[in-house]
């Protein structure tokens, strides 16, 4: 659980600073560095979480700013005028939008940390392909699982299980999607691990039954601090979706 986890969504700045020593100068330098990197985000967003995980994997200090989507900040509107959506990474005043574009940017700028995308062009192409697959499929199909009813719901359930099976087959017996190293596809997909409980409960199936290797992979990823410190409890995610359902008047 993130140390500053709070369900009181205010515009207070949560500053995550990696402290190397107790000295005041170190702390000040850390604070200045953190100001250079700002992430506009919403606690439960799997897209925002991709960015948080990538930043944590690279050990980058940054300032986290929780947005209230019902009352978007002027900074968000200015930083992402096209979509007005989170996440947005602002680096030295320059905004980067689209979660997977942000993850690639983080990988390229903080290139001395462990690589997120592999160096080999073919492996990199495979990673990009699967990151794009996750992007295109999971979230939109997942929404249909809790928004729709009747035949449309059955259709969504069938599709979602198919998506899980495709990912299961792609993962195979590997430790991570990237092989031995945690990487791009893992980062793209793992935030949705906390949503599996919501999807299976709303969908009426068991993720573990349909994709056991995927569940084992998720648990392995949770052993990484970058992931366990970022993902919320699946029950909290479910609570959040239930409150959305109430808001939209869905039974």
């Amino acid at each position: 659980m993130p140390q500053t986890a709070s369900l009181h969504l205010t515009n207070r700045l949560h500053i995550h600073i990696v402290l190397e020593s107790e000295s005041e100068r170190e702390r000040e330098r850390g604070a200045r560095m953190a100001e250079a990197v700002v992430l506009l985000d919403v606690w439960v967003s799997p897209f925002g979480q991709r960015c948080r995980i990538a930043l944590a994997e690279k050990g980058v200090a940054y300032e986290y700013k929780e947005e209230d989507l019902a009352n978007k900040s002027p900074l968000l509107l200015q930083a992402n005028p096209v979509h007005k959506k989170i996440p947005v990474l602002i680096h030295d005043g320059k905004p980067v939008c689209e979660s997977l574009v942000i993850v690639q940017y983080i990988d390229e700028v903080w290139s001395d940390g462990a690589p997120i995308l592999p160096a080999d062009p073919y492996a990199r192409a495979q990673a990009r392909f699967w990151g794009d697959f996750v992007d295109k499929k999971i979230y939109d199909c997942g929404i249909r699982l809790w928004k729709l009813k009747g035949e449309a719901h059955q259709e969504a359930k069938k599709e979602f299980i198919e998506i899980l099976k495709v990912l299961e087959a792609e993962l195979g017996d590997r430790k991570y999607f990237g092989g031995d190293a945690f990487g791009y596809v893992d980062i793209a997909l793992v935030p949705f691990f906390a949503w599996f409980y919501t999807y299976e409960t709303c969908g009426g199936f068991s993720v573990e039954a349909e994709a056991p290797k995927l569940v084992a992979w998720g648990k392995r990823c949770m052993e990484r601090e970058s992931v366990s410190q970022t993902l919320y409890d699946p029950l909290k995610v479910y609570e959040f979706v239930c409150s959305l359902k109430k808001k939209y008047g869905i039974e």
Binding site: V82, H91, K94, V96, C97, E98, V101, I102, Q104, Y105, E108, V109, P121, Y122, R124, A125, R128, F129, D132, F133, V166
Partner: protein
């Protein structure tokens, strides 16, 4: 046996993207067109997830999704032909990739909606949405080109390729539907960019003839209208 093969034909703007990239790099390849309405064994085997073109096959290994393919081509042949396609610095790369997402996610679907619109009202709405998207790209072009000919500056860059592949289709639809989509009055910079893009040697090599695209568009429109009429009866 060609080391590089590409499944598809340039009538598809997504295939055209990859052909422009290969042309910029002056990479030789074997083009393997698919028959309309039929998917080859090779395509189904190479792209089991989507079963769609384009698929690049390099040393017998398939790469799918046009944006992934273009990045792959840029990485494998970094210095060839006209040189790098992706910008040199990370921030500009992020901008080119962001706008590519926009083109694929928002702009292209609105272009398709224009072609598919069944009422004048629906068509007008789709046209306005498409034009609004182009106006955003007009702004982006002014910022990214910094007064030069392309989104990539002096050189054709990633976003030039990812957007430029639709130029011949936009023109074909303008002709068949008698509308102006890329308005010179409100999008002067993009208008200039289209001229520069079309004039580039590497683009000229692979750009399909306007006449062919017009014919193809008319044909699929006729097919769609017939299918709709048959379904109504």
């Amino acid at each position: 046996m060609a080391a590089v093969k590409l499944i598809g034909s340039p009538i598809s703007p997504f295939v055209l993207r990859t052909m422009i990239a290969l042309s910029l790099k002056k990479v030789e390849y074997e083009l393997l067109p698919e028959k309309l309405g039929e998917k080859s064994e090779l395509l189904l085997k190479s792209n089991p997830v989507y079963k769609k073109i384009p698929v690049l096959i390099h040393h017998d290994r398939p790469i799918c999704e046009s944006a992934v393919i273009v990045e792959y081509i840029d990485q494998v042949w970094p210095e060839s032909g006209y040189g790098a396609i992706l910008p040199a610095d990370a921030y500009h790369r992020a901008l080119h990739r962001f706008w590519t997402f926009y083109v694929d996610d928002k702009l292209f679907p609105s272009l398709v909606a224009i072609g598919k619109a069944e009422t004048e009202e629906a068509k007008a709405e789709a046209v306005e949405q498409f034009r609004a998207g182009l106006r955003l790209l007009e702004e982006a072009f002014v910022k990214l080109s910094e007064g030069k000919a392309f989104f990539g500056g002096d050189q054709v860059g990633f976003l030039d390729v990812m957007l430029g592949c639709f130029v011949v289709w936009i023109e074909a639809m303008e002709e068949v539907l008698s509308l102006e989509l890329l308005e010179e009055a409100t999008m002067p910079a993009l208008h200039g960019w289209v001229v520069s893009f079309r004039a580039h040697e590497a683009v000229k090599e692979v750009m399909p003839e306007s006449g062919k695209v017009v014919e193809f568009f008319k044909m699929i429109r006729a097919m769609r209208m017939k299918a709709a009429a048959d379904a109504a009866n």
